[in-house]
């Protein structure tokens, strides 16, 4: 295999990675459960993409569920499925079909963004904790203990309630924190003195700016955003622990030591040697967790903390049924208000869980085989 240009080289080095993924996909496609999972997720993806066609928005914000004013004037009670509203309406005549279709997008948004934020926080904390060990590890792990010790659902509730709607995002403070973390890692890794000095200079300049003229950007958060942020803040400790144990596992392997002997800096060891070897476990766990996160978000909505009452979100529709818990006749009469969105939630979560389970069956032995 002779390589002519840089581009060829990139192509060849990637073709092996693509081959690996093809192999994984082939293994997955042999399990009927996994195929079902993928089919479900694809189905939801298609619904999400075609939402504007399936349920044309009637206002400027497509996530606001349209209200059928005509019936609303007649009765406040829900109406069962009919040709006009194929999934029926809730009380105050919100269209369930519309909410279910656009709710798909909300579900993807919540699941993916919570996972990404939590993974990022977990990656930083877990890696620092495992790689440096000692007192840093002790402090960071005790912090995760504190968050884990409190039932996450309630903590998320309190956070989502108390979180301000307008978040003053302080850019200067943020850069200050980032430079601080960066220079700290450089100090610990004992290398690149010049770069370290430069970063310290930035740090001091930034500090100056922060004291005299901070740049603050106000961020407007919707209720769903608040739920999203609080869920991420509650669920990162789990990832931090997972990543910590993964990094510890990889760290003890000979090839990391060999990289040290070769003269690699700490940063290079973490980024080039340790992280790529933890990727499979992260993929498995995050796939399995997307479903769970959507469930928790729905549970928060059910308790009355989630999205606004007219926002297209599955949990929000179901939460309307809470009023009839002690009224058996209404519970039966209005079955459609919770049955249909519930099926959407269950299928969505099931899809991710099936996929995650299959991924684990395929990838876990690959991790262990090494």
């Amino acid at each position: 295999m002779y390589v002519k240009s840089k581009w060829d080289e990139i192509k060849i080095s990637w073709s092996f990675r693509v081959k690996e993924w093809k192999f994984i996909l082939k293994r997955i496609s042999e399990s009927p459960l996994a195929v079902t999972g993928i089919a479900i997720i694809f189905g939801f993806l298609i619904i999400a993409c075609l939402a504007p066609i399936l349920a044309p928005p009637q206002g400027p914000d497509p996530f606001i569920v349209p209200q059928d004013i005509e019936i609303a004037t007649l009765t406040p009670n829900p109406t069962p499925p009919s040709t006009r509203h194929i999934f029926g309406t809730t009380d105050q005549q919100y269209d369930i079909y519309y909410a279910c279709i656009w709710g798909t997008i909300s579900a993807f948004r919540v699941g993916l963004s919570v996972i990404i934020i939590a993974l990022l926080i977990g990656l930083v904390i877990g890696t620092l904790s495992a790689y440096y060990g000692g007192i840093i590890d002790e402090i960071l792990m005790r912090i995760t203990d504190i968050i884990i010790a409190f039932p996450g659902l309630l903590l998320a509730m309190v956070m989502a309630i108390t979180f301000p709607t307008v978040l003053p995002l302080d850019i200067t403070l943020l850069t200050l924190i980032i430079t601080a973390i960066f220079s700290l890692t450089l100090i610990i890794s004992k290398s690149r003195r010049k770069l370290l000095l430069a970063i310290l200079a930035v740090f001091v300049g930034d500090l100056f700016l922060y004291i005299y003229n901070p740049i603050i950007i106000p961020l407007n958060l919707s209720k769903l955003d608040k739920v999203l942020i609080s869920l991420a803040l509650v669920s990162w400790p789990g990832y931090a622990r997972l990543i910590r144990s993964e990094v510890l596992r990889v760290k003890s392997e000979d090839f990391v030591e060999a990289a040290k002997v070769a003269g690699c800096s700490t940063l290079r060891i973490i980024v080039k040697h340790i992280w790529p070897n933890t990727i499979y476990s992260l993929i498995i766990v995050s796939t399995l967790d997307i479903g769970s996160i959507v469930l928790t978000a729905a549970a928060l909505s059910f308790l009355g903390i989630g999205a606004e009452p007219n926002f297209a979100d599955w949990g929000q529709i179901i939460s309307r049924s809470r009023n009839w818990i002690s009224r058996p006749d209404l519970l039966v009469a209005n079955y459609h208000t919770f049955l249909i969105p519930g099926i959407f939630i269950t299928l969505f979560v099931l899809g991710w869980n099936l996929l995650g389970d299959a991924l684990r069956d395929v990838l876990d032995p690959m991790i262990r085989r090494r």
């Binding site: 301000p164 789990g238 818990i325 058996p328």
Partner: protein, 382 residues
């Protein structure tokens, strides 16, 4: 390893799964390898240190979060009649309850009150926090004590069957059931069950106890020995109360079992499969033992180690509050109370609840450690 702050909600079970996944099953966690010979006393002392630390941390965290609220909103929480209050009145209230003082002073004031045994007043239920928690706790306990044995037994049994018949029909059914069970939203399952068994059939009503029996229970003749109606009914000679409580608890118990069992089945299955692949199983077979002994004596004992640990943590997590299940069935336990308190931003109540769950977290960890040491001779507590 340390993981307990679970409600019955699956997202937090995800945490557990993460931990189980990251643990190499059947090998003791790193924690134990570092300290092989530790006296039980050292263990307890270490856990107590952790407890104080976690208690302080959790309350500090909640305190800090509530500080995000504007001072007026917080003052409003103290107002008796908050619809008719002037800005002037709010300022006075804030002054009166020390809300204008620095954060740490407020926290230490609260802390010194707690050290004197005063957890504060729960506005959401118009009771002192401690009393509120004591009166709610038995309902949660009733559900957990009924659900835990069923879910652990079924989980272990199905897990073993699934592993023995790997890739057979039984295995497929168990796996599908467990994945579906895991994917069900508990509130939705609760609503479905309610609409069928209460709405359509009228058999199993929500709430912890029927109204007429509640009157008997609350009368002065009924002595509340344990505060747990299930037991007190029998002690007082009212078996109908016990039966009624059982009837009311069926649906919540079903929800808890269906959802939590899924995790146990998965963990038991994978640890059983792992145990069956171990070299000592070859030895057992080469000895001439029959398959039943190989599975139930040699493999099961080893596979139980992670599962029992998980069960311990699950049960403790359930005791900490079944927020959603209790809300759906209006069962009036700790979880429902805490959820109401959180919704109304009843800060003293949330703080009290936080301390309780942190306490349960640490105690459950200690119990799990001891169980681990009991099951696995490689870990010895002296």
């Amino acid at each position: 390893m340390l993981l307990l702050g679970l409600s019955e909600n699956q997202a937090l079970l995800g945490d557990l799964h993460r931990i189980i996944f990251s643990l190499n099953l059947n090998t003791p966690p790193l924690f134990f390898l570092q300290i092989k010979m530790v006296s039980l006393l050292t263990y307890i002392v270490r856990r107590l240190i952790l407890l104080t630390f976690v208690l302080l941390g959790v309350t500090l965290l909640i305190f800090a979060i509530t500080m995000l609220l504007p001072i007026e909103v917080r003052a409003m929480l103290y107002a008796r009649n908050y619809q008719h209050i002037s800005p002037q009145g709010l300022r006075e209230l804030a002054e009166k309850y020390g809300l204008t003082r620095p954060f740490h002073e407020q926290y230490f004031t609260w802390l010194s009150q707690v050290l004197q045994g005063n957890l504060g007043w729960a506005k959401s239920s118009s009771q002192p926090v401690l009393e509120a928690m004591l009166s709610r706790w038995p309902y949660t306990f009733e559900i957990v004590i009924l659900a835990a044995p069923i879910m652990i037994f079924l989980g272990i049994y199905l897990g073993i069957q699934s592993a023995i018949h790997k890739d057979g029909i039984i295995d497929h059914i168990c796996r599908i059931l467990s994945i579906v069970g895991w994917s069900l939203p508990s509130f939705w399952l609760g609503l479905l069950l309610l609409s069928v068994f209460y709405g359509l059939l009228g058999w199993l009503p929500p709430g912890p106890i029927s109204d007429e029996l509640r009157q008997i229970r609350d009368s002065s003749l009924f002595i509340r020995y344990t505060r747990i109606d299930l037991i007190d009914g029998l002690l007082n000679g009212y078996p109908q109360i016990t039966l009624d409580v059982l009837k009311h608890a069926i649906l919540p118990v079903v929800v808890i079992v269906v959802i939590n069992m899924a995790l146990l089945v998965r963990v038991m299955r994978s640890s059983m499969l792992e145990a069956l692949n171990k070299p000592y199983i070859v030895t057992a077979r080469a000895k001439g033992l029959d398959e039943k002994t190989v599975i139930y004596k040699h493999a099961r004992r080893n596979a139980l180690i992670p599962t029992v640990t998980l069960s311990g943590m699950l049960v403790a997590g359930l005791l900490g509050g079944l927020v959603i299940t209790e809300t759906v069935f209006a069962f009036g336990g700790l979880g429902q109370w805490a959820a109401t308190a959180a919704l109304q931003l009843d800060i003293p109540a949330v703080l009290g609840y936080a301390m309780l769950s942190a306490f349960l977290f640490v105690i459950a960890n200690l119990i799990v450690d001891i169980m681990y040491a009991y099951l696995d001779p490689r870990i010895r507590l002296e």
